[in-house]
Symmetry: C2
Subunit: 394 residues, 2 copies
């Protein structure tokens, strides 16, 4: 498996495009990803109860396990817009299907932006034919730009791997700035591959990959109404269809790698983020308890502020741990920033202040908490909380 | 029941004092509240698993249902300080008992400040005799100052009520800046009364009052290791002992009023707070679901940032609701800022923008969310999230 240049159109047979249709001012706001034949298609979606129209439509259109195209708009979530919002999203799907020459059920749709506003339908519908006509292999970057909201940069990834003697390619793009947050941002990720992949195997692999990557990130603890990860496999590589028994582990590992790369890009470009924080909780009673503990630390505003200021405030780590119902005993907890152990058996160590200061001044910091209870392990990726986060969201 | 001037020494027979002993630089950091006879004493404590030494000691000293004095230090939480920290806290209790002329078990102790640092024992122990000797009815304000950390002002309250023909007084002081946060702050509240009150009734009343007030506030979603609410009743008023059947409802209502007043003061003086937000969720399936929903909204950084900026961003309210497992249907939700209904049956209304702008520019904003599912109701008080919060905590 090796990383390659490119994004969503790196696999054979995929085209993309991104244009400005008028939802946002002067920025690209409408993207298309499409392929020339029916794809095996799977998705994972937000569990938010206030899920947007696009989530309901895309989930329903995946019931037949295939798709041809994905239409994405930024600048408007089309969420909490009732029946009218649902009809609007369906009309966009129909317009795209007509322009592309496929059935509406083969079109998936994603939206991101503010909640509670109706889509400017005429502007979008008028732009779709040009968007479709202009789609090409060269359009990956334009599409990656058109799905952004408060992101400061595009997020693309591609890699190539050998499955049963056949080279296959995976491409991807995403936008942040968090899995877990609503309104102006939403996490979207789109993955393409020219591999032939069994539908159920790919659906399972994507769920597993998302659980290990996108579900491990948090920017601010808020959950979006529009989160969506879609994966399309068009089979153009001509490989023997991948399933659990044929090339499955290699493909699943590659899918997880792609998702991990995108997830980390999202956290690093989180709103106001200046630091990437990896929170590892180990030696917990169970993996689930380790994750709960890691998440509590990652969602502590006080811990995130301390990391922003480069202050190795482990008391906030301990307090966040203590606020959970995770099994532990303060007297057996070890805490380390990178390789500097600051707490051993619940009490402060005599660490070297200069070395610790260097560690917490880095752009990427690893916090390891050992509960010394069992073999459970959990990792969460997050970012610091800065004044810029408030500036962006006030 | 009427509010009166004064604080912790407003009831008969209570004295207090606050001095600078050297934990903090140039600020009062050691407080005493005491009375001339054994009191009926009750407390509620943080549920944080990493509870500080003072929490363990005060809880244990309340086992005999009486107390004479409370020693409080600010500037150091004496938490995660192991056996040494526990011995330090016990020594402070003993020094206070000796200076005051009572048994160590009659002294309660509270600490607030950074976690993981050892107390400067010599400085504190040396200051205790003077602290005790100088305690008087006039010392309430000094005590209220000495317990503060990042608070910007003292928090005192007193009221007088008639119980069975006898006038009794309740006094109180507190510090914030949040029930739910660790490290530099911690919520502490101390309540005194000259009423004679049955121990079990007072313990029950304090738990109920705390549940309805202190447990309804959140600054930043973080929980302290040192939170403590203590109440002492010395019986000096000479009333017939209050219990559930004799004056109980009047007294319990007064206790709740006192706790509510302190809780609101704490939120209004939350770190970086510029606005007081009352989140009311009504017509939920149950009270518990209403509280869960209100808490999710109150702990949404995005909602808090929006309120800081005076932006009536109800999409963030809906997303926070949707992220919970509370029973609701987007299509039946109503949302109002004060009296301006912005969402009816899940869809935006045609409100008057000018009026809404005025409402969200206020110092105090009431958000009401009606789920239209049942009769459940819950209220949470919180504050906005500002750049100043990050400045204080980085």
């Amino acid at each position: 498996m090796r990383d390659i240049e490119g994004g969503i159109t790196a696999p054979q047979g995929f085209v993309a495009n991104g244009v400005h249709c008028g939802i946002k001012r002067g920025k690209k706001d409408l993207a298309l990803v499409a392929t020339d034949r029916p794809c095996t298609a799977v998705g994972v979606f937000t569990t938010n109860q206030a899920a947007a129209a696009c989530v309901r439509i895309s989930r329903s259109h995946l019931a037949n396990e295939t798709a041809r195209a994905i239409l994405v708009n930024s600048g408007n979530a089309n969420c909490c817009t009732g029946e009218r919002g649902y009809r609007d999203a369906m009309r966009l799907v129909e317009v795209t299907a007509e322009a592309f020459g496929c059935r509406p059920v083969d079109v998936l749709q994603a939206s991101t932006g503010p909640i509670g506003k109706y889509l400017p339908m005429d502007a979008i519908a008028a732009a779709v034919p040009g968007l479709v006509a202009g789609a090409s292999e060269a359009g990956a970057r334009a599409a990656a730009e058109a799905i952004l909201t408060t992101d400061t940069r595009t997020k693309e990834f591609a890699c190539r791997l050998d499955v049963g003697g056949q080279v296959v390619t995976i491409g991807a793009m995403a936008k942040g700035a968090g899995m877990i947050e609503p309104n102006l941002r939403t996490m979207l990720a789109f993955i393409t591959t020219d591999a032939a992949v069994d539908h159920d195997f790919m659906a399972h692999s994507l769920r597993e990959a998302a659980a290990a990557t996108f579900n491990r990130i948090t920017i601010d603890g808020d959950q979006s109404t529009n989160d969506m990860v879609l994966a399309l496999a068009n089979g153009r590589a001509g490989n023997e269809r991948i399933n659990a028994d044929a090339g499955g582990s290699t493909f699943a590992a590659a899918l997880t790698k792609v998702c991990r790369a995108l997830a980390k890009m999202i956290v690093k470009d989180g709103e106001g983020a200046t630091k990437f924080l990896e929170i590892i909780v180990r030696a917990a009673t169970t993996d689930a308890e380790a994750e709960t503990a890691a998440r509590a630390i990652a969602n502590s505003n006080l811990f995130k502020c301390a990391m922003h200021g480069g202050s190795p405030n482990w008391g906030r780590v301990m307090a966040a741990l203590g606020s959970t119902d995770v099994t532990f005993d303060v007297e057996t907890v070890d805490i380390a920033f990178d390789d500097v152990v600051v707490v051993r058996a619940g009490a402060p160590t005599r660490y070297e202040p200069k070395r610790l200061k260097e560690v917490v001044a880095q752009d990427e910091i690893q916090l390891t908490v050992s509960l010394n209870q069992g073999a459970g392990r959990g990792v969460i990726w997050t970012c610091d909380l800065s004044q810029a986060y408030v500036n962006i969201n006030q």
